[in-house]
Structure formats: C-alpha cells, structure tokens
C-alpha cells in the first residue's frame, strides 16, 4: 500500500488542548504588567469616544470574597466590551478608607 499520509493535512497547532489556567494565567499577568498592557490599550483607544465606568470605592479591608469577584469581573467585562465596541474605556479602580480605623478596631 502506498503511503498517502503525506498527502493528508492533519491539524497542527501549538495551542494546547489542556488549558492549565491556574499555572498559565499568573505568567500572562506578569507579561501584561511588564508590557503595561493597560497603557497600551489607552494609547490604542486614544481619540475614540469615551465610555466611563466609575468604580465604586469598596472598603479597603480584608481579602476579597466571591461577591467582590462578581462585581469586579462584571465591570471588567463591560469595560473591555466597550473598548472592543470602539470606545476609549478607561478603568480607574478606587478604595474608600475613611471611617475605617475606629470601626475596625471596634469589631476586633
């Protein structure tokens, strides 16, 4: 039998089947930080009509819980989708730090 394998085009890609997100994501984050990805996006969007999502300041205490994650992810989805939609969509996160020392001390 002749070998026809060479005449067949099978898929070829380095894009891995296994996502391995827990390992891969932190490396990508470091890369984004090193490249100042946020700054690059701002530069690319310069001059476009603006879409401003104004971040509400959460109290700056404690580790984030799942509710925080929902809030920030929804904001990020909106900001990124508006950017893809042709807007200049900056995102300036905020924190509210007042009234904390005393309340915090009391709770302890």
């Amino acid at each position: 039998m002749a070998d026809y394998k060479q005449t067949i085009n099978l898929p070829q890609t380095g894009f891995p089947m296994k996502a391995d997100l827990a390992q891969r994501e932190p490396k990508m984050l470091a890369d984004w930080q090193a490249r100042d990805l946020y700054g690059r996006i701002r530069a690319a969007a310069k001059g476009r009509p603006r879409f401003v999502l104004h971040d509400g300041p959460p109290y700056a205490n404690g580790a984030i819980h799942i509710g925080h994650a929902v809030n920030k992810i929804l904001k990020d989805i909106i900001v990124k989708s508006r950017s893809l939609d042709g807007f200049d969509a900056p995102y300036i996160p905020g924190w509210d730090c007042h009234g904390l020392p005393i309340e915090h001390a009391v709770e302890k």
Partner: protein
C-alpha cells in the same frame, strides 16, 4: 492585598494609580465641593439624637455601643384628649356623646426622664384602637388602647371594663391634640411604622431629642427637637421640675409629678436590654446634639433628584422604582459625625448663636488648601486664630467630620481633579443592589446639590451570591466558595465565564458543582477554537484568502452565520446581557460548528491539497470565525483570548484588548436553501444512528443514502448536486424525484430517505466507499477524487 486578587481575576485597570478617598488631594477637593454645596444653599444646622456616653461626654458610633440587661421604671401614663368634640367627629360618635368624663391615650415607657422632651404620641395607622370605659378603686376612666393590648393593659391597671365605646383605626386620630401630662403644652398624635404590639399599649411616647425613631417620625411631622439634657447628663437648669438633676435620677421626680397629676396608671421595675458604652460599661442615653444637614427641600434637592432619576437608564429596570421610593421618603441628610477620623466639616460657627462665620466660603477654600498640603490633621491641628484672627474669640472651629457616605458620594467630583479620564456625568455605576440605599443614593444627592443633575447616565446592579440551593454562604454550612481557591485550581477564566453565564440581576448561585459544569463548557469552547487553529496551519491571511464571491457555498454560509451571530453578541454586550452571549457562543461552538460546519469540513480540510481552492476557502471562513470569536471571548475569557491571539495566523497587534470587533467580509447571499438541507442532514444522521445501533455499519462513511423528493422539494435539495454526500458525510447520496419506495422513511413534507450499508470498496485515503476505487492503475487503492487530489491542484468543490 485586595489589589493583588483583583488583578489576578484578569481585571485590567490603572492599578498603579487607583483613587483613594483618603488621598489629601481627594479630601481637599471634597472640602471644596462641600463649600459649593454650602454656597448653593443646601446646608443647615439642626439637631439629631445620638448615642451619648455620660462618662465619655461624647457621641458614640453604633459600633461602640453594646447591649446589657438593666432595670428601669416602666410606667403607663395618660395623655388627655384636649377637645373631646374633635375626637367624637373623628371616630363617628354623635357630638357631645362622650359627655364630660376625660378621655386619655395611654403610653408606656421605660425612660420616664425623657417625658419633659415629649412632643407627640405615635400610633400605627393600621392598628385597631379601642375607646373603653373602665372602673377601679380610683373611679371611672376613659382610655384609648390598642385593641389587642386592651385586656392586658386594663388588668395591669387593676381596672375592669365597663363598656367598649368605640373601635377605630389609628389613622383616624392623626394630629389629634393631647395635653402633656405635667407640662403646660399640647402635643399631637402622629403615625409611625415603628409602633408595635409587642409590649405596652400600642401608643408610643415620642421625644425626638431622645430617640432615633422618634426623631425620624418627628422630622416627618415637623416636631421640634428640643434637648433639655447637657453633655454631662444633667438637665439644664431652666428645665421645669427636673432642672439640674442627673437624667436617670430624675425618674423619681417625674413619677411623683405624674402621680400628683393623676396621670400615672401603673409603675413597676422592668428588666430590659439597654445600650451601654463599650468602654465604660455604663448606660448611655439618646441625646440630640447640634448636627449639619443637607436639606431635601430648601433648594429643591428632592424634586431635582426625582426629576433626574427618570433620565437615568436603570438595569434592571426596577432600580428606578426602588431609588425613587427612597428619595421620596428620606429625611434630610445628616452629614455630620462626631469622630476623630474623617474629612472635616470645615466651618467656623458663632459660639453663642451657632451662626456661620460671614466669610465661610473663603474660609472653606483656605481650609481645603491646608488639607491638600497637610492632610486632614491640618484642620484638627489648626488654631482658629490662624484663619479668622480676632474672630476666634467669638467663633469656634467645628470639629465634626463628614458622614463616610459623603466621602464616597462625592467621588464623581473629587476623582476627576486628579484623573481627567473621569468626567461626570459618567456612563455607568455598577454595584450590588444594596447601593440604591448607599452609593447610588449619596452620589445622586451630592451631584444634585452641586450641579442639579445626576452623576451617572446608567446604573447597573447585581444580586448577591448564594449557594446552589439559594442559601447564604457561611462557614457553618460549608458552602463558601473562595475566589482565590477557584483561581488556583480551575483558573480565573472559569470564574469569569461563570460570572458571564449568570443572570446577575437576581441572586447568583455558585457552588463547586456549578463551577465544575462551567469548566466543562470552557473546555468545549477551547476545543472548538483549537480545531480552528489546528486547521489554519499553513494559512497566511495576507495571501491565501479566497475572495467572498469565490467561496465554497457552505463557507459563505458559515461567514454569514457568524456575521448574524456577531450582531446579536454586540447587541447583548451593549445591553449588559452577558448570559445571552455565553449561550450564543456556547451554542455556536456546539451546534453550528462542532455539530455541523466543522464536522462537514473535516473531509475537505484533510483530503484536498493544502493550497487548493477547496481547502483555502474553508480556511478563509475558519479564519474569519476565529478572528470574530477571539474578540467575542476577549471581555470574558481574557486570558484564553490573549492566548488564542498568539496562535492566530497573520500579522496582528500586540493584544486582542486593543482591537475592535472583527469586520467580517460581506458574502453574497446565494440561492441555496441551507435550512432545508440542514433538516435533511439531521434526518439522515438520525437514520444512520439507527443503522449503527443494529451493527450494520460502523462509521457513517460505510453508508449510502437515497433521498426521494416531491417535484416541489426536488430543486432545493438538488442544489448541492454531486456534493450532497459531503454535507451528509456518507459515501454516496442520490437524489430522486417521484414516489418513495415503501422501505424509505419520511423526513418531512415531500421528502423520504433510505440509508443502507454500501458494498463499494473503501478508499484508503479518504475512507469513502466508492465504486471507482481501483480504476486508476497508478493508485489502485484510491477513489477518483483522491487521485485528483494527489496528482493535480485538487478537486473542485463549489457547494460543500
């Protein structure tokens, strides 16, 4: 700490330069904004009850108060109806019918010393009240009591009911005049929802200077807030009856005065939970103190806010009703707090009259400049004479700070100074649905007070997270899902996909099981993309694209379908309907691509020559699908989209996040009725499954199909000509016009099909069973088209 976690979620933003409400620049701007609010005439000085510790001689925050058991004198007191004729009219009694025996509303209280500050008696509008005549050792009395508490109350007083004269709702007595039991003044009946039937008489002694609920109901009725108790807990000397006494000691004198006036029905020691100072462990009192208010009325703040709420886009829509109700019913905003930490209310007031210094606006500006340089401490450390010179003899520096809701409520104003990107009114505020009461509310009022407009064009709220059974998360239930743990196991993109997949307007369910299902969906989408990338190998979009007019018809359909989907996805993004996007993309991967288009494409991609028109056409479509899809996914699967971006062929920018939606090529509509053909394919697939179940075939390519069409159906099913078998993924597909044989199966109106194993020999290259295998001497194991594909530029495909 929070910042690291937020970044880890894949949230992109200016993390190196966030805005902080405690930045000196922010605080200074907040003071300047406060100055403009004063300038606009919204501020006034009033009084409001606060927890007051007699030992601290200071107001306490709610968090500084703890509750302990304490014994107080509980007394039942008569408040006489001033005009019995008015009462008769209100409760439907004939004029003069009640005669001259006095009528009293009875209150019950455990703080007799607050009676000098009584300004009203509160009833519940919808409770039933009884006017009853009763008799005891002291003679006959006519009393008004909540019907449900009537018997218990009379028993407590040692009175026997003689006659129930009338019953009515509390609302009937609104603003009825009563005589204070021992002071020469009249007080009205008011209505309040804080009145309960848990204890007492259903009528509540109301002293706005000494109780939070009393104060709120008092604001609604315009009752005076007159506080007779000094910071040391002693009554001012000018107070009748109890002047100079310590408030708790005054109970005895009050009880005696009530007894002498024959207004005391009952008196007993009573144990109850009472607020104490967390530091001194001593009982605290509620005491009205001077406070600063933003008026809802004096410059039409309420009216303006209600007007502008209508112009905001509320998502979900019920947010509008919710915040409207809150603005309609809220009292004036008390913006002052007595704390050691916070942004100062930078005012100087006259030591005796409390009037603002005549240069107030200029002084606020100077104070702001100092805070900008030295932080809020600069105000607290400031010697008044530095700013007002000799006026310091008559004016004093206010040491109150602003409510924290004023800090965050002014963010739209204060952030913009340092960050010109944030220009109010902004496009969107997005927080949990509790913020109609919080940040959305305070921001709206601040913006109205400053600019008479809303600070935002849109407000979006999300619900709170619960477990999959709808229960709150708690350690004891063991149902807490930690985002950090999800990110370190499944990854942030799975968490992000879960968020996108939820209908966030309501409660948002999450559990390990829900996230596991999300991870499965993620894998299916990832595999679809991987198939696209794998088959784009060797494709350079700059040189290898097939022009739209020259595309194989099925590829043109795929691009058109992608365009249509993209329109829906972009619209859903604009509407914040992310769960629809998740459904659309997921279905596209599973149904349109995995279950149909890519399944059909495999044969063409694998068996036609790498550079052939047939394969380049397929790659052109797949390329555009992948370009479109990576952008659809980018806002949600931010990590994975960036990863895909690096594997896509062609020159491209550095990040998908810098792109805009993919411009899909316009493809000619074509005359092929794809829905009809896809329906045929689905029917054939069903029959092939059955055939496989019987063991007659293994793979679909071991089968052949015959299709019979009515004259009406024939043309649309004949459109693919000899290429129909590729759509059906069978080795042969023959189309007939006319009556179907009895062993065929109906597959829709005017269509019948029959699938059967084929006896034709198998091509070793494409695995189709074809009669022409062996016809070519040099390639005896190949079918005719494979011979073409290995010896020429490739077979011709026009349709599939």
């Amino acid at each position: 700490m929070q910042r690291t976690d937020f970044k880890r979620l894949g949230v992109l933003g200016d993390w190196d330069n966030p805005y902080l409400t405690m930045n000196a620049a922010y605080e200074a701007e907040q003071i300047r904004a406060f100055g403009r609010i004063v300038h606009n005439g919204h501020l006034y000085r009033g009084a409001k009850p606060v927890h007051w510790c007699l030992d601290c001689r200071s107001a306490l925050a709610e968090a500084e108060v703890e509750y302990e058991e304490r014994t107080s004198p509980a007394i039942d007191v008569e408040f006489r109806v001033v005009d019995p004729r008015d009462l008769e009219r209100r409760i439907g009694q004939p004029a003069g019918g009640l005669g001259e025996l006095p009528v009293s509303i009875v209150i019950w209280t455990t703080t007799p010393w607050t009676l000098p500050a009584n300004e009203a008696v509160a009833l519940r509008a919808d409770f039933r009240y009884s006017l009853v005549e009763a008799e005891g050792a002291g003679g006959r009395k006519r009393l008004i009591l909540a019907s449900e508490l009537r018997e218990a109350s009379l028993a407590r007083y040692g009175l026997a009911q003689v006659e129930l004269l009338s019953e009515f709702d509390g609302v009937a007595l609104e603003r009825l005049e009563l005589a204070h039991p021992f002071l020469p003044k009249r007080v009205p009946v008011v209505l309040g929802d804080h009145v309960t039937l848990e204890a007492g008489t259903g009528a509540v002694h109301t002293a706005p200077a000494h109780g939070q609920e009393d104060f709120v109901v008092g604001q609604r009725y315009g009752l005076p807030v007159v506080n007779p108790v000094g910071p040391d807990g002693r009554f001012f000397d000018s107070t009748p009856l109890v002047g100079g006494q310590r408030c708790h000691d005054a109970n005895a004198a009050i009880v005696q005065a009530l007894t002498e006036a024959s207004r005391l029905l009952h008196h007993v020691p009573f144990q109850h939970s009472y607020p104490h100072c967390w530091r001194h462990k001593t009982p605290v009192i509620f005491r009205a103190t001077p406070q600063w208010f933003i008026s809802m009325e004096q410059r039409n703040l309420r009216a303006h806010a209600l007007r502008d709420i209508k112009g905001v886009q509320w998502t979900p829509a019920w947010g509008e009703q919710r915040i409207t109700g809150m603005i309609e019913n809220r009292p004036d905003w008390c913006i002052s707090r007595q704390r050691t930490w916070g942004v100062p209310i930078a005012l100087f007031v006259h030591k005796e009259t409390g009037a603002l210094h005549p240069d107030t606006l200029a002084l606020i500006g100077k104070a702001a400049d100092r805070v900008e340089q030295g932080g809020i401490e600069a105000w607290f450390a400031l010697d008044a004479a530095e700013l007002i010179g000799t006026d310091a003899a008559t004016y004093e520096k206010v040491t109150d700070v602003m409510d924290v809701w004023a800090d965050s409520g002014l963010s739209f104003e204060c952030v913009g100074v340092a960050r010109p990107e944030i220009v109010a009114p902004v496009d969107l505020y997005l927080e949990g649905s509790d913020q109609h009461r919080g940040w959305f509310h305070s921001s709206l009022l601040m913006s109205e007070a400053l600019h008479a407009r809303a600070p935002y064009k849109g407000v979006l709220t999300h619900g709170f997270t619960v477990d999959e059974k709808g229960r709150k998360m708690s350690k004891s239930l063991g149902n807490v899902v930690l985002p950090q743990k999800v990110m370190s196991t499944l990854g942030a993109d799975v968490l992000r996909l879960w968020v996108a997949s939820t209908d966030y307007a309501n409660e948002i369910g999450v559990s390990d099981e829900i996230l596991k299902r999300t991870a499965d969906s993620y894998r299916r989408m990832r595999n679809t993309v991987r198939f696209l990338l794998g088959n784009l190998h060797g494709f350079d979009p700059a040189t290898d694209q097939v022009a739209p007019a020259d595309l194989v018809a099925l590829d043109a359909w795929a691009i058109a379908r992608t365009r249509e989907l993209q329109d829906g996805i972009v619209a859903a993004y604009r509407d914040f309907a992310f769960h629809l996007i998740y459904q659309k993309v997921h279905n596209f991967c599973i149904v349109d691509l995995g279950g149909l288009y890519l399944d059909v494409l495999k044969d063409r991609l694998y068996t036609t020559p790498a550079r052939s028109h047939a394969r380049r056409s397929a790659q052109t479509a797949m390329f555009h699908i992948a370009e479109a899809m990576v952008r659809w996914l980018a806002p949600i699967l931010s990590f994975t989209a960036e990863e895909i971006w690096q594997y896509l062929p062609g020159k491209r920018g550095e990040s998908v996040q810098c792109e805009t939606w993919h411009r899909l090529p316009e493809v000619p509509a074509g005359a092929i009725d794809w829905p009809a053909l896809f329906a045929l394919r689905a029917a054939v697939t069903r029959e092939l499954e059955k055939l496989r179940d019987t063991g007659a075939i293994g793979a679909p390519l071991e089968a052949q199909v015959d299709v019979w069409c009515s004259a009406a159906e024939y043309p649309r099913h004949a459109a693919l000509e000899e290429e129909l078998r590729f759509l059906l993924i069978t080795s042969a597909a023959r189309l007939h016009q006319g009556a179907a044989p009895p062993d065929s199966v109906a597959a829709g109106e005017g269509i019948a099909i029959r699938v059967a194993p084929t006896e034709a020999p198998k091509c070793v290259r494409c695995w189709h069973r074809r009669e022409d295998v062996g016809a070519h001497a040099e390639h005896p194991e190949l079918c005719g088209r494979c011979v073409t594909n290995v010896t020429t530029a490739g077979e011709t495909r026009r349709y599939a």
